[in-house]
Symmetry: C2
Subunit: 376 residues, 2 copies
């Protein structure tokens, strides 16, 4: 066994009374979520969008970056950033969420990046459709998947690797899948994949490979670590498991009133309070948001706004169907202790559960948010 | 006792075996540090600068923002942002660090925002000198301090408050103290105090009041919560304690090689590795950085770069003396387990300790960074 293997631990579950470990804390200090009051912004300001970096942020320059297209193609391609920017340009507003969002609420807790509910953000992503690049390379008839390799390098559960994920050829050829070089009208920030990343609207974050340096069309299903070991829904460690793919519906609200510093517990004054939030699903449009002020015992419908037409950065007519929708609910806050909840349902009938959805990786836990508020 | 008081806990220390709590984790998920590989950048890119928000990020517009100057002045002032931007303009490159940086390494651990070593960042801050505004208001002879009030509102240890801090009149009148409206040549981001904040170069972050809405000149020392209860160096809870003020020296290095995802433990190949890092002090210039590859048993000098003259955003000749300095050290990495450390000394003779510096608030713990690296 090499020291890489001996010093890189296998996946584990926390014991029942085990607090958050120093390792989990170190990840939480690097990566970060959206402060919930920033749900107010249609497009998440720079630095408030959630961030999950598997290894290190690679150092990169725009001038020297190259991406290759190889494998089951008629013509291998090597493209620099100037060449990519000359290709047809498309802007898509996308709500992106980490597959592990909600993990730290689970019992037992899978030990990994410990998200509560805040691993989300929305941006206008600009790039060129991947389909056009694959068409230029000439995908051959034996192709079944496309593998995307990033420049971030590390070890995970004993496996040294560059970050890699695949999509089926059908998913890869979808209209809104982009080779992306701008976020909200600016070059990508280093932590968001500068100078080039993949954007796969509707999918959890693991699919949107950052620091993209190679696209390989393959004739057998990809068996890489992030595809078949991580990012699987499993109850037992030896299951093959179901792949994590699209984002399950979720609604989050801006916690009303004001917080206690340490507990983030909320206090509000009595009277009418306009509760606002956002809701999204990667499976289909959100068709209803309901709000409860009694911890989920009773529910009332919220009002969902239409998608805003204007992009904050002036991009002409971005595709909006993958972005969250704003909703509001007028709450008559009466003195006492309350627990606010919001619940989204999408057009495919998927709805948020009241209780946590457990699996060994802590993925796709879209249980309803619970916000205790004391009114006095 | 009101519910605000009963639901907002007093300060406490974690018990010896207590893991990080859910409350601490919720703070770590909102606030975030600098990923250490971003020490590579002279100016920290947006979103990678550390962030500590006591309560919520207030919603603000540039057009409606007003700051008042009141108290022991000949003429009270009310300034809007257009008026502030017409005043003399100055850009200062400032390394800012949270006073609680290093807190989570302490035993016993003060329960608060649980930083490891990463609560730092450097930016070019542009604004107008506070001294000019105070001169325009005409400070009266009875003045002793200046109190700064932000718009962020919350509860802390039972005390409902707007965030407030003071400076002595002498400190407030220093050349480089700014009413600041730009960060790296762009309007402030919401989380960094948009549209107006205070910048107090050389001081820990608690002094740089964000979302600044009032400046009050007072004739007696300010007794507010953040001045006399929080941000004090105390060994026992009933001490008056020493105020937390300027930043103690610290050097941090970019961890070499590549990480394990979960532990962030590093692996590297044998051979010469150029170690790079940054060092800073709010008390005086850094005059030496030493590196140890054996956990602090032996030390060798690093090479400190001169301050870079060029600002990344093209600001003309920013003041650089408050910004970190880059340093390098050529390490000959041999197979085996090593522990890299770096230690800064400033011109006042202050030097980083090898062991943690404990106080009940977990402030100003500038013990040397320790980076285990396995070479194979």
């Amino acid at each position: 066994m090499t020291s890489v293997q001996s010093l890189s631990s296998p996946a584990r579950l926390a014991s029942p009374e085990e607090g958050i470990s120093t390792d989990e804390l170190a990840l939480a200090a690097r990566n970060h979520g959206l402060p919930l009051e920033a749900l107010r912004y249609d497009l998440t300001p720079p630095g408030l969008h959630y961030l999950l970096i598997h290894y290190d942020i690679p150092f990169a320059t725009d001038a020297e970056w190259m991406v290759t297209v190889t494998g089951s193609v008629a013509r291998s391609l090597t493209l620099d950033m100037a060449a990519i920017r000359e290709l047809p340009r498309r802007t898509v507003a996308v709500t992106m969420e980490c597959a592990g969002n909600g993990r730290a609420r689970l019992h037992p807790r899978p030990v990994s990046q410990p998200w509560m509910v805040e691993a989300v953000g929305t941006a206008n992503w600009t790039g060129t459709p991947l389909a056009g690049v694959l068409e230029a390379a000439g995908v051959t008839p034996d192709a079944v998947e496309v593998v995307f390799t990033g420049a971030d390098h590390g070890v995970e559960r004993g496996v040294e690797q560059d970050y890699q994920r695949s999509l089926s050829l059908t998913d890869a050829m979808a209209d809104d899948v982009l080779l992306c070089y701008e976020m909200n009208g600016e070059p990508l920030l280093p932590q968001h994949g500068f100078p080039l990343r993949l954007i796969v609207p509707g999918w959890y974050g693991m699919a949107h490979v950052k620091w993209l340096r190679d696209i390989t069309v393959v004739d057998t299903p990809f068996q890489g670590f992030q595809q078949v070991t991580a990012y699987r829904l499993r109850q037992e460690p030896d299951e093959v498991g179901e792949p994590v793919t699209r984002i399950f519906p979720r609604a989050l609200l801006v916690p009303p009133g004001f917080p206690d510093f340490m507990s983030r517990r909320r206090f509000a004054r009595p009277g009418p309070i306009m509760i606002e939030g956002r809701a999204w699903s990667g499976w289909g449009p959100v068709v209803s948001v309901e709000v409860s002020a009694d911890g989920g015992a009773t529910w009332a419908p919220a009002t969902i706004d239409a998608h805003s037409d204007a992009a904050a950065d002036g991009a002409a007519d971005p595709v909006r169907r993958w972005a969250w929708q704003r909703w509001t609910f007028l709450w008559d806050a009466t003195p006492g202790a309350h627990e606010l909840c919001a619940r989204a349902t999408d057009g495919t009938g998927r709805v948020q559960p009241l209780d946590d959805r457990w699996n060994r990786g802590g993925f796709a836990n879209n249980a309803v948010q619970r916000v205790p508020v004391t009114v006095e």
